[in-house]
């Protein structure tokens, strides 16, 4: 899993949660909340879909790492790699 693939995983989840958002120009370095209309219920869903689809656990204390696509990639990519190594 590369960081770009990881970003795509997050984007795919957002596309399913919020089909009414335009995701064609999401800037990876900008906070998701600042460019998309996502509320705390939506962020909870990102966490839950990560668990459901990819068995990735994000503890509540780490939610801050999901702020932007870049920070998602930083935080999640090692988790995906660790999971792949285990599996």
């Amino acid at each position: 899993m590369t960081k770009d693939e990881c970003k795509q995983v997050v984007l795919d989840i957002i596309a399913d949660i919020a089909p009414d958002e335009d995701l064609s120009n999401v800037k990876p370095e900008v906070r998701l909340r600042d460019q998309l209309q996502l509320d705390s219920m939506d962020f909870l869903d990102i966490v839950m879909e990560l668990r459901k689809r990819h068995s990735i656990e994000v503890p509540e204390a780490d939610y801050q790492h999901l702020a932007s696509l870049d920070s998602c990639a930083e935080y999640l990519t090692p988790k995906f790699i660790a999971l792949a190594a285990k599996g």
Binding site: I17, A18, P19, D20, M41, L44, D45, M48, E57
Partner: protein
């Protein structure tokens, strides 16, 4: 113990809130079963057939309507949380609605799904109050109405701080109370905010085929997510030990177990299943109940001059008195719904005309009657309700209406209790709401009416919020 009869979550009641909770939980892999005593889903918002004709109950209009592209409102939150494409509801907007006050509706405020129409009506008819009205609306828009822990404040007090004219004050409260208040005379301000936004700042719409479209979408989602459903299978008792529910006894006597229980049947009703702790006072049940008359017309309402209004909230008296009547019925105020007057598009109309009227009623004046007296009272009240409501619509002669009428039906407080299990015929549940959905048992949570998000969108959001808050967010 049969291993099939253990669930992660058991949900009591297949109404809007129970179904919405079920969809969330099943989507995220919980083993869920909804237990519903009746053979129909929908609870307070359902439909039934008599001689092949379908009647909707509950839902006049789906409130909280916003057009595509408007985000961050209850409707969009709901669609996202349940992964519903808004095209699935195929919502058609209202034409116009009114609040009509005075013995013959002399003061009338029109509103549509464009808030500016309502604002202009207030400015024209209450010029001294328009500034206060605008500051009130600003306060409503900034209020955090979905917080799960706020101190209750009086909506009457807040509104009076902005609006001095009692007539306008009552005209704002009438629709808001009729569409969701379980409290007499006043409301908690947070509840007022939820309903004011739902009715005025957002708006009314309905699917062409009414409430059954919404139920069908919810049922499909629930089934696709893997949720189970047992109909004609009520829960008669919740067995507990050391503050936790350990099993549910079904009407059949069968016992099932569940890690969590979500109850949509109301707070006092849930308490009754749990059994009261020694010396505890029972929870207060709601006192507000209603009758609704339904008249089926062989023509569109427009053909007899009733083509403009979708919903009319009316009151004939000096003050609007939202309270349990002292007699069986109070026809001084009420709500008229003409479902034909949604904008279904140029080539489509409901096959028959429908004229519905809701008025306040008193449960204990209906419940104990013998069948014969009950039928006689229904007939008498039907006529009174119709007579009262017609004062607020364009005048037509008795003979024109009689000529157009094919059939009628009516629900009463007794019908409500029979089909929904709500004690006292209390459509909007108990006056005290439980925002966090807590009950005396740590793994039993409330959703729906008595959790306190109002309207049908509110009901679904209630199910979603409680599933998220108590179950999905925990791990």
């Amino acid at each position: 113990m049969n291993s099939c009869s253990h669930y992660d979550v058991a949900i009591i009641g297949a109404g809007m809130s129970g179904l919405a909770a079920g969809i969330r939980l099943a989507h995220f892999g919980k083993k869920v079963c909804i237990f519903e005593r009746h053979n129909a889903t929908g609870g307070l918002n359902s439909f039934y057939s008599i001689s092949g004709r379908k009647f909707d109950v509950g839902l006049h209009a789906l409130t909280n309507f916003v057009r595509p592209g408007v985000k961050g409102t209850p409707l969009t939150k709901l669609l996202r949380q349940l992964r519903i494409d808004r095209a699935e509801f195929a919502l058609c907007e209202q034409k116009q609605s009114r609040v009509a006050f005075g013995p013959n509706g002399e003061t009338s405020l029109r509103f549509t799904n464009d808030f500016v129409v309502f604002e202009n009506e207030v400015a024209t008819q209450f010029p001294k109050e328009i500034d206060g009205f605008r500051t009130l609306v600003a306060a409503i828009k900034t209020y955090d109405d979905v917080s799960l822990d706020v101190a209750p404040i009086s909506a009457r007090a807040v509104v009076r701080a902005h609006i001095k004219d009692a007539l306008l004050e009552d005209m704002l409260f009438c629709p808001v109370m009729y569409y969701g208040s379980a409290q007499e005379h006043d409301m908690e301000f947070g509840q007022f905010v939820i309903m004011f936004k739902a009715l005025f700042l957002e708006g009314f719409a309905r699917p062409f085929d009414g409430v059954r479209v919404i139920l069908r979408v919810l049922l499909d989602k629930y089934r696709q997510a893997g949720g189970e459903r047992r109909m004609k299978c009520g829960v008669q008792k919740i067995i507990s030990r050391e503050g936790r529910a350990t099993a549910l006894v079904l009407d059949s006597g069968e016992e099932i177990t569940a890690t969590h229980v979500i109850s949509s049947i109301g707070a006092p009703e849930t308490e009754r299943l749990i059994g009261l702790a020694p010396q505890a006072a029972p929870l207060e049940t709601g006192r507000l109940s209603f009758v609704e008359t339904i008249s089926i017309l062989k023509c569109q309402p427009a053909a007899i001059g009733w083509g403009s209004d979708t919903i009319v909230f009316f009151n004939d008296s000096a003050r609007f008195d939202y309270a349990c009547p002292s007699a069986s019925l109070d026809t001084r105020s009420g709500v008229i719904c003409l479902p034909n007057n949604f904008d279904f598009g140029p080539d489509r109309q409901l096959s028959e005309g429908i004229f519905r009227v809701t008025c306040l009623a008193r449960y204990d004046q209906w419940a104990p009657l013998t069948e014969e007296s009950y039928q006689a009272q229904k007939t008498r009240c039907f006529a009174e309700v119709q007579r009262s409501a017609r004062r607020f619509l364009p005048r037509i002669s008795d003979s024109i209406l009689a000529e157009a009428m094919i059939t009628t039906d009516m629900f009463t407080p007794r019908t409500i209790t029979k089909f929904t299990g709500h004690m006292g015929g209390a459509i909007y549940g108990a006056p005290i709401k439980h925002r966090q959905g807590r009950t005396p048992l740590e793994n039993v949570y409330l959703c729906g009416t008595d959790q306190g998000f109002l309207g049908i969108i509110g009901a679904m959001l209630s199910g979603i919020s409680m599933a998220n808050f108590h179950i999905l967010q925990k791990k």
